[in-house]
Structure formats: structure tokens, C-alpha cells
């Protein structure tokens, strides 16, 4: 207990400590740690990594059941609807091309899987760590800020989504549903989808008083989005005014990017779709961070 210990202090590596706090102390500011209001810009550092690593270490112990849970459900959907309903539906028209229903469904449902995996992790699991186990409180007694904890949880939920998506992609390749070389590009896009939905879910995590609250999020937000975004049927089937709204949903943007890649085509409006995902990600992260700061320091 006596020998001095070299603490790798990131603050020391910088020539001068950052002084972003406004002059005149911290009177009246909601966020104690930061010396700024809850809406001040995110102040992020590499200290998110040990928090991410912590979650990784817990998950490593549960990887097999986690893998089964992540793959089984989307596969059941795919088999039941793809082969069952697909036999009735036959071909679906996508961008002037006629494709088998199972391919149509696979390209949409993988986006849904990314969304669900990220949402579950950033809601139920993050809430357990934040509220039930008080893991975040313990972490913040060490030199790790709340901003870094929120970033770590966001990236962790996105990682879980990427993990689920990779496993499902593997199964889809094995089943020979698609052999498009452009699937390699779908993979980073699906990571982006995971990041987007992690950020959105963390808003609801910051507002939750208990697990029940998340049921509303799933039934009132994610389930309608799933049906409006073209997972199961083309958005062209929707009534005109609904479609105008549906075209701007983040899940619809994700599907607009990923589905053509499954068909060995290029997305029709890649920048528009990427912008929808990008803007909703940045906005959601900022709101989630502000509400989490309010929850802890407000």
C-alpha cells in the first residue's frame, strides 16, 4: 500500500488544462461536474474506454446465451415470414427490380435487429447499471465524467447491435439469401444504425423511473416505426400523407441504405438517408446527455 503508483493522468498530458467553465464560479449551473449548463457541448475523453471494457468483461461471461437470444428471434421472423408468407407473396418490386420476398424481408429485418439490439441494451441493461446497481455512481467517484459514461454506454449498445447484426448476416450468407459483395458496406452502415438507436434509447433511459417505462417506448415508438419503415412491405403501400412522414424515420433511412446493398445495387439517395441518420444521432445524443446530466446533477 506504500509504494507510489503511477497514475496515468490524461490531464497531465495536455499542455494546459481545459478551462471551459464560464468565469465567476459555478453558481446556478445544473451540472456540477462540468461547470456548465446541462445543454453545454459534450466533453468527451478516452475515459469511455474502461467503461466500455467493463461491459465487455461482463458480456464475455454471457456471450453464448446472448448470441442465441440475438440470433434466434430475428431468424424465427425470417423463416416464418420469409418462407411462409414469401410463398404467398412471391416477388416484391423494389426500385423497378423484382426480388424474392425473403430477400426483401431479410434486408429490412436486419436493420430492425440492429435497432432492437441497440435499444434493449441502452434501455434495460443501461438502466440496470445506472439506476439499479448504481454502477455509474461508483464509476463517477473515479476520474471518469458522466459524459464519458454516457458515451461508453452508447458505443456499447452500438457494439451489441453490431454483434447481433454480424451473427445474423452470417446466417443469411449461409442460407444463401444474398451474395452481394456490397454486403461488406452494409456492415458499417448497420453499425451506424446501432449508434443512432442507442442515442435515441438513452434519452428514454435518462427519463425512466422504472423498467415499465420502456414498454411504452417499444410499443408506442419502435413498433409503429417498424411497420412504417418498410421492413415487411414497401413504403409505397402506405397512404400518401403517412408516407411523407415515414420517409423521414431513421429506420426508413437505414433500410433505404441497406436494402439496395443486399440487391447488389447502390442506394437511390445515400446522402439524404445518411443525413437523416446522422442528424438524428447527433441530436439524440445531445438530448440524452442533457437529460442524463439533469438526472444526476439537476
Amino acid at each position: 500500500m506504500n509504494e507510489p503508483l503511477e497514475v496515468e493522468d490524461l490531464e497531465r498530458r495536455r499542455p494546459a488544462p481545459r478551462r471551459e467553465g464560464p468565469p465567476g464560479g459555478q453558481r446556478g449551473h445544473a451540472s456540477a461536474e462540468r461547470g456548465g449548463g446541462i445543454w453545454s457541448p459534450p466533453r468527451l475523453s478516452m475515459r469511455w474506454w474502461p467503461v466500455f471494457q467493463r461491459n465487455l468483461l461482463v458480456w464475455r461471461k454471457l456471450v453464448i446465451p446472448s448470441l442465441i437470444g440475438n440470433i434466434a428471434e430475428p431468424l424465427i421472423w425470417l423463416v416464418a415470414f420469409g418462407y411462409g408468407l414469401g410463398a404467398l407473396v412471391g416477388q416484391v418490386a423494389v426500385g423497378g427490380q423484382s426480388v424474392p420476398y425473403i430477400l426483401f424481408l431479410a434486408s429490412g429485418s436486419i436493420c430492425m435487429s440492429a435497432m432492437n439490439a441497440a435499444s434493449f441494451e441502452a434501455l434495460y441493461s443501461a438502466f440496470s447499471r445506472m439506476h439499479v446497481q448504481k454502477t455509474w455512481d461508483g464509476i463517477m467517484n473515479a476520474p471518469v465524467s458522466l459524459d464519458d459514461v454516457v458515451l461508453a454506454e452508447m458505443l456499447w449498445a452500438a457494439f451489441k447491435a453490431l454483434f447481433a447484426v454480424t451473427a445474423i448476416l452470417g446466417v443469411m450468407l449461409a442460407l444463401g439469401i444474398s451474395h452481394s459483395p456490397k454486403l461488406l458496406l452494409a456492415w458499417p452502415v448497420l453499425l451506424g444504425v446501432g449508434i443512432s438507436f442507442s442515442c435515441i434509447a438513452l434519452i428514454f433511459n435518462a427519463l425512466a423511473r422504472g423498467y415499465d417505462f420502456f414498454t411504452y417506448y417499444f410499443t408506442l415508438f419502435l413498433t409503429p416505426m417498424m411497420f412504417l419503415s418498410g421492413v415487411f412491405f414497401p413504403r409505397e403501400q402506405l397512404p400518401g400523407f403517412v408516407r411523407v412522414l415515414a420517409d423521414w424515420l431513421p429506420l426508413a433511412a437505414a433500410i433505404d441504405l441497406v436494402r439496395p446493398l443486399f440487391l447488389d445495387q447502390w442506394p437511390a439517395h445515400p446522402w439524404r438517408s445518411a443525413a437523416v441518420l446522422g442528424v438524428s444521432t447527433v441530436a439524440a445524443f445531445w438530448v440524452a446527455l442533457a437529460l442524463t446530466r439533469r438526472r444526476f446533477f439537476g
Binding site: M1, N2, E3, P4, L5, E6, V7, E8, D9, L10, E11, R12, P17, R19, G21, G25, Q26, R27, G28, H29, A30, S31, A32, E33, R34, G35, R47, P50, V51, Q53, R54, L57, V58, K61, Q133, K134, T135, D137, G138, I139, M140, N141, A142, P143, V144, S145, F296, F297
Partner: protein, 318 residues
């Protein structure tokens, strides 16, 4: 020379309001290197809020918290501006354990050390000593869920030592522990003080405060109502002797003209009368006229002081 005794932690005129309630009201104190400062006060006195402001987890409405670690040069670090540099040198045990239930004891220490930016090899080299210090060497592979309350608290303390901190902030480290576990915790804290560490601790146990703390801060309703060394505070506020009298009819003695003049102060609580006096002999002699009553003669202690300063009524808001 002045730098030798510069306080590690300095708190100036700290104030915090929640709505209409002022939970911390103009509290100032300092901790010198090697010192153990105890914060005592009834529930709701503002102890935990004060600690949380020292940690930058609650923003004060007024006042300042600054640290000065000799190893980090002479520059004063201010909360919350320098939160990360400060916390790199602090060890914290919060009131409720925040141990990771999914990890065993050794993993808990490893994962926590990483939050300080420590290298895995450096932490792993330290884990055996930390477990030994916590008397948990035989429990390295056991998860917190299987540990007793005392073991969990000691693991929390070991975790707080992973970065070899200069100052420890301990919020009620022994609440809920049995006497054996409490004594072991005291022994460990005394060991840390011998090693030159400084401690800020809150407690509800007056024997703990008296045993461990060089200096005490008494808070009530958010205000500092007394500060000083335990023995000095007792001498300053209390008569040296206490005679407790209880049993049937004891309450009538509070105003008994044969007894009253022998006591400097008399207090009644429940079925017991407390006579505070500088000379207990005449009082005890007079009490021999009431053989049916039970009496207890003892020196005044910190508990008497605490009850005198903060009153005997139960804090309903607690």
C-alpha cells in the same frame, strides 16, 4: 515551510439549497495532511451533500471546494474545474456499496483501477496486497453477492485504495456492520492513518468518531454547530461526570431539592434522568436514599455532547 502544512482539502462557505430547504448552510472546514476529520450530525444534517459537493457530484449554490496535493505541485485544484485531476488522487467509499455484482473481488479491483487509467499489469500487481488489506485474500474469486456486509465494505475500501490515494472520503463506512466487522474496519482505517493518508469520514457512531478522528465537525440542519478535537469539545460543552438514574419514580427526582443542587444540569429522556456534574460524589450519596432506583455513574462522552448540541428529539424527516 508553509507548504508542509497546507490543507489537502479546503472548503469555503459552502451552501446548497433544494427548493426552499437549505441543506448545507455556510459550511467551511479544512483537512491537513495525515489528519482524520469526522463529520457527525443527525440524519438530514447535510453530511452526504457536503461530501458530494467535495466530489463535484453536487454543484454548490455558493462557496468553493479546493484541493492541494503536495505530490502534484503547489497549484490548488478547484472543484469542479479540475474534477478529473482531483479524483485521480482521491479514494471514495460511498454510503451504499456500488460493487459490481457480475465480477468477483479481484475483477472488481481490476475494473475499478482501469477507471483511473492504470495499466492492467500495475493493477494486477497490487490486487493481492489490496485483498490482503481487506482480509479477503481467500475470497478473490468470490462475487460480492456471496460476501457478508463487512466484507463488502472492506472490498469497497480496498477498491477506493486502488489508485493509492492521498485523501479518502468515506461516507458512513461502518453503518450496518456487526461489532467484529466494525472493529476490523477501524483497525484498517487506523493503519491507513499510520501510513500518512488523510481521511474525511461521516459517521453516526460516537465511539468511532472518538477513536479515529483527530478533529470533529458537528453539523445540524446544514450548519456547522461545533468543531474541534473530541476531548476538547467534551470539556468545552459538558460537565465531566454523568449520573443516569432510571427505574420506577426516577422522573420525579429531576426536580428533587435534595439532588438538584448537586448537578450543574439535568436532562430527562424517556424514563431516564441525566445529572451532569463536576463532582458526582455528593449526588451519589444523596441517591442512596432511593435504593429502588438504578444508577449509572460514568464520564461524559461524545454521545452526550452530540445529544446536547443536536437535541434528543427524533428527526422525523430522516
Amino acid at each position: 515551510m508553509a507548504s508542509m502544512s497546507a490543507p489537502l482539502l479546503q472548503v469555503h462557505h459552502l451552501r446548497k439549497r433544494y427548493g426552499a430547504t437549505t441543506v448545507v448552510d455556510d459550511v467551511s472546514f479544512a483537512i491537513a495532511p495525515g489528519e482524520c476529520l469526522g463529520v457527525i450530525g443527525p440524519n438530514g444534517a447535510g453530511k452526504t451533500t457536503t461530501i458530494r459537493m467535495c466530489l463535484g457530484l453536487v454543484a454548490p449554490d455558493d462557496g468553493e471546494v479546493s484541493y492541494c496535493f503536495p505530490a502534484a505541485g503547489q497549484a490548488a485544484l478547484r472543484m469542479p474545474r479540475d474534477a478529473r485531476a482531483i479524483k485521480a488522487r482521491l479514494g471514495v467509499v460511498s454510503q451504499f456499496d456500488t460493487l459490481d455484482p457480475d465480477f468477483n473481488c479481484a475483477e472488481n479491483l481490476l475494473v475499478y483501477g482501469r477507471y483511473f487509467g492504470l495499466k492492467d499489469a500495475a493493477i494486477r500487481a497490487r490486487i493481492p496486497q489490496l485483498l490482503e488489506f481487506a482480509a479477503l485474500s481467500h475470497k478473490a474469486e468470490v462475487r460480492p453477492g456471496e460476501l457478508s456486509g463487512g466484507m463488502k465494505r472492506r472490498l469497497s475500501l480496498a477498491r477506493a485504495l486502488v489508485n493509492d490515494p492521498q485523501l479518502l472520503l468515506l461516507d458512513e463506512p461502518t453503518t450496518g456492520l456487526d461489532p467484529q466487522a466494525r472493529h476490523l474496519m477501524w483497525e484498517r482505517l487506523q493503519l491507513l492513518l499510520q501510513q500518512g493518508k488523510s481521511i474525511l469520514l461521516t459517521t453516526h457512531f460516537m465511539d468511532e468518531a472518538e477513536r479515529l478522528c483527530h478533529r470533529l465537525l458537528v453539523l445540524d440542519h446544514g450548519r456547522k454547530i461545533a468543531e474541534g478535537r473530541p476531548r476538547d469539545l467534551i470539556a468545552e460543552h459538558l460537565e465531566p461526570d454523568v449520573v443516569e438514574v432510571y427505574g420506577g419514580g426516577a422522573l420525579a427526582l429531576a426536580d428533587d431539592p435534595a439532588l438538584r443542587p448537586h448537578a450543574a444540569r439535568v436532562e430527562v429522556s424517556g424514563e431516564t434522568v441525566f445529572f451532569y456534574t463536576a463532582n458526582a460524589r455528593p449526588l451519589l450519596t444523596a441517591l442512596e436514599a432511593h435504593p429502588q432506583l438504578r444508577t449509572l455513574h460514568r464520564p461524559a462522552n461524545l454521545e452526550d455532547l452530540f445529544l446536547k448540541l443536536t437535541g434528543r428529539q427524533i428527526r422525523e424527516d430522516a
